[in-house]
């Protein structure tokens, strides 16, 4: 790949039923680029979890995906409340999601662990009261 391909998405924080549109679009783009199904699955699930988190906790945000030689990078940024204790947030089953989110089948405390599970690199930058930026990389 001569030059890295980049995609930018705005994640709407108001609309929970349309959450996932950015990840579905990324899935389509990667399929058109000829990526193998498992790489597409890993990238799109990791991104969907991040998107859902931004809708639940941060009132939306942005997603930037860069397709480069051997690596797909996903950067999710929001100006939400931030994560007070990242180590705790990374534990499977730990959740601060409200009950109405749980009735939809989310809020199981699996979002961040899944993002780590499906990526080769994940880093969380978060400042309470300012926002969170998550960088993930999937090698292919």
């Amino acid at each position: 790949m001569a030059e890295a391909l980049t995609f930018h998405y705005d994640v709407d924080g108001e609309n929970f039923t349309s959450a996932g549109q950015a990840s579905v679009q990324v899935k389509k783009n990667l399929r058109q680029l000829g990526f193998d199904p498992e790489t597409i699955r890993r990238v799109s699930i990791a991104m969907y979890e991040g998107e859902i988190n931004m809708v639940i906790h941060a009132g939306g945000g942005t997603a930037d995906v860069t397709v480069d030689d051997g690596c797909i990078e996903i950067i999710l940024s929001d100006t939400g409340p931030g994560i007070a204790n990242i180590e705790q947030a990374m534990q499977e089953g730990f959740s601060t999601a409200p009950d109405n989110i749980r009735t939809l089948g989310f809020g199981a405390g699996m979002g961040l662990p899944n993002m780590k599970r499906y990526t080769d690199y994940m880093h969380i930058d978060s400042v309470v009261g300012e926002g969170t930026t998550i960088t993930m990389k999937v090698n292919y």
């Binding site: 579905v24 597409i40 699955r41 699930i45 969907y48 939809l104 089948g105 989310f106 199981a108």
Partner: protein, 108 residues
């Protein structure tokens, strides 16, 4: 086993079948959507009682072969239309998840 074959079995009804030739290679049962995305494999049949619109996105991203709604759970028309537009197969069955999974014991 193809999704078409499953849909034709007694007790199963079709809600959305845009990709009936899809092969089912395994089964995953679960209602917590992130859990499903973390554990279900591509080409699984996903058995659930969840019926909100997000199941379509989860099925698409997890790349499962079909969703099977257990216990006679019904879907709103908008969910069915979205599934058809996104190419997601959805079947429904009045049986509980365990009984539905027995269907696959000899066929997978």
């Amino acid at each position: 086993m193809k999704v078409n074959e499953l849909a034709s079995l007694e007790g199963f009804s079709t809600l959305s079948l845009p990709d009936g030739e899809r092969e089912i290679c395994g089964v995953y049962i679960g209602d917590l959507l992130s859990w499903v995305m973390g554990r279900a494999k591509a080409d699984d049949a996903w058995i659930t009682i969840m019926s909100n619109i997000n199941i379509v996105a989860v099925a698409s991203l997890a790349d499962v072969a079909c969703i099977i709604l257990a216990e006679g759970v019904q879907l709103e028309r908008a969910v069915i239309e979205t599934a058809q537009a996104k190419g997601i197969n959805i079947l429904s069955c009045s049986l509980p998840a365990f009984e539905i999974s027995k269907t696959f014991f000899e066929k997978l």
